[in-house]
């Protein structure tokens, strides 16, 4: 797994595919923290939700990072499509989580908050960002060219699902009572946004619940994707 991660890391960095999502995320961080003071957990709510979108993009760029022929050669050496797919998603999560850590530490170290965050806020900030990074990455596999042959429709589908996740709370309110259960199919990103904006009023259990929901959803989504990938293998037209 380490060898696969090293290869994916070098290929990803050399391809400059990280450029657009990283520059956009860091640029927005610089913009929002250009004014002071900022509320701590409300700021983390915004940057973690934004990371969810950026992580989905990073996941998409990583899972489709190799051409079909290149991926076949890699698979011949890796010997397992599940290991190869899991390594790509894991790498995307590590990369996105690093951006999440930056989003937590940058305003703290440069004094961009209304006060210095305490240890619990810092730890929970990192965990919320990492959980939403996992959530975003876990969606990307479903909207890759491995399952949706048209890259255009794959990106469109990913954008739509990410948007639905962000707007889940509003959609739930608008749905008739009988259909409101459908909302649980959407990624639980609004749960974490709500928890972070109302952080001070929540019990410890309620603070952990959104993290558990995001990690649980990400785990299930990734596991199902890898099962489908294992059946389908590299059966896609390539580019």
């Amino acid at each position: 797994m380490i060898a696969l991660l090293t290869y994916i890391h070098r290929s990803f960095l050399r391809s400059y595919r990280y450029g657009a999502p990283t520059v956009i995320y860091v640029g927005i961080l610089l913009l929002i923290y250009s004014t002071v003071p900022n509320p701590i957990m409300e700021s983390y709510a915004f940057t973690s939700a934004l990371l969810f979108v950026v992580a989905a993009a990073i996941g998409s760029l990583t899972i489709d990072g190799e051409t079909a022929n290149q991926e076949m050669a890699t698979l011949a050496h890796a010997r397992s499509i599940v290991r190869l797919g899991a390594a790509k998603l894991l790498y995307a999560w590590i990369f996105a989580s690093a951006l999440g850590i930056l989003a937590v530490l940058y305003p703290t170290l440069l004094g961009r908050f209304e006060r210095m965050p305490d240890l619990e806020e810092l730890v929970m900030g990192v965990l919320y960002h990492a959980a939403l990074a996992a959530l975003g990455v876990s969606l990307s596999g479903w909207f890759s060219v491995k399952l949706i042959y048209s890259r255009f429709y794959a990106i469109l589908g990913l954008c739509l699902w990410v948007a639905l996740g962000l707007g889940a709370r509003g959609i739930a309110d608008a749905l008739p009572d009988g259909l409101s259960g459908l909302i649980h199919l959407l990624p639980p990103v609004s749960l974490t946004m709500h928890a972070l904006t109302a952080y001070g009023e929540l019990s410890m259990g309620a603070k952990w619940l959104p993290i558990a929901a995001a990690v649980g959803y990400a785990f299930l989504s990734t596991a199902l994707f890898l099962i489908v990938l294992n059946r389908k293998k590299l059966d896609y037209p390539g580019e």
Binding site: A3, L4, S11, M72, A73, L75, A76, A78, R79, R231
Partner: protein
């Protein structure tokens, strides 16, 4: 024994070539394998097995299913029906797709990553990468990225990654495409050597390649089915001879000369040249490799013996 069976025919046993000597369990067995894309059936109820040291050439027009069959055998894509059985969970498979894309990695970086992913240890991997660069005449340690490589250079890297881990089953899709004559000869020598050491090799080929065809069974993929192509007749095979240039210790030279009296030997410095009658070619090459010989080049000459 290499057996091929199509839906509408009885099993065909192919034992006309000396290369097709089965040893133990087949390395690979396809049973009634079909592959469909939508309503189009590309491969239709194919059954065949491949043993250690056997070589199979696939021919066929564009879109006939050669690449699809190689991918199925490699386990890259699933079958629509039928089963592909590989002997042993840890069967090492080398796979070279028809081309490798231009990457922002040097050939050494790329091969090091592939070798590490395959689980090779660093020392052996480094030695193997250098050896393959020498063999295919590509500068090792070059800082030039594959992004700037020509088609032929990329093909060399592609072939190097396929044989890097000394696979038991080697699958090559148009391996000679883009290679110059010297590199083609080097690749041919490498393939002969690997086959003699027991690697089973499946190759999709377009162009004629007599010296490889002489030790292989050739099939044409047509309308989703494999049809045996008539190889050179026995008399024709026997009328050919082979000229092998290589390195071999003196003691082994004497032993081989005694075992194969009809082989003509000459030497220039430490390189020996062997003129091998067609009928003895197969056995001689096997013994040459087992004796630790290094094959430098191999040419087929028609009608000399």
């Amino acid at each position: 024994m290499l057996k091929v069976q199509n839906q509408d025919s009885h099993p065909t046993s192919v034992d006309k070539l000396r290369s097709d000597r089965p040893v133990g369990q087949p390395m690979l067995m396809l049973d009634q394998v079909s592959r469909r894309y939508g309503t189009r059936t590309v491969l239709h109820n194919l059954s065949f097995s491949l043993h250690k040291g056997q070589s199979l050439i696939l021919r066929g027009g564009n879109g006939s299913g050669k690449s699809t069959l190689l991918k199925l055998v490699a386990g890259m894509i699933p079958t629509s029906s039928g089963t592909v059985r590989r002997n042993g969970r840890h069967l090492r498979i080398g796979f070279a797709p028809d081309r490798l894309p231009k990457l922002r990695l040097t050939s050494e970086e790329y091969l090091t990553h592939m070798g590490r992913i395959a689980g090779m240890n660093k020392v052996n991997l480094s030695r193997r990468i250098e050896e393959l660069h020498d063999l295919l005449e590509l500068p090792a340690g070059s800082s030039s990225l594959m992004l700037h490589y020509s088609k032929g250079m990329l093909q060399k890297v592609n072939l190097m990654q396929a044989v890097l881990n000394e696979p038991s089953l080697l699958l090559l899709d148009e391996p000679f495409s883009g290679l110059d004559t010297a590199s083609s000869n080097q690749l041919l020598s490498l393939l002969h050597g690997m086959r003699a050491q027991g690697t089973a090799i499946m190759t999709a080929l377009h162009d004629p390649l007599p010296s490889w065809e002489a030790v292989s069974t050739t099939y044409r993929l047509q309308e989703g089915q494999l049809r045996l192509e008539e190889g050179p007749a026995e008399g024709h095979l026997a009328s050919a001879s082979y000229e092998l240039d290589g390195l071999l210790p003196d003691v082994e030279q004497a032993a081989l000369a005694a075992k194969f009296p009809s082989v003509q030997w000459s030497a220039a410095e430490n390189v020996v040249r062997c003129e091998i009658p067609g009928a003895e070619y197969e056995d001689f090459v096997q013994h040459f490799w087992r004796a630790g010989g290094t094959l430098l080049s191999l040419r087929r000459e028609e009608g000399r013996s």
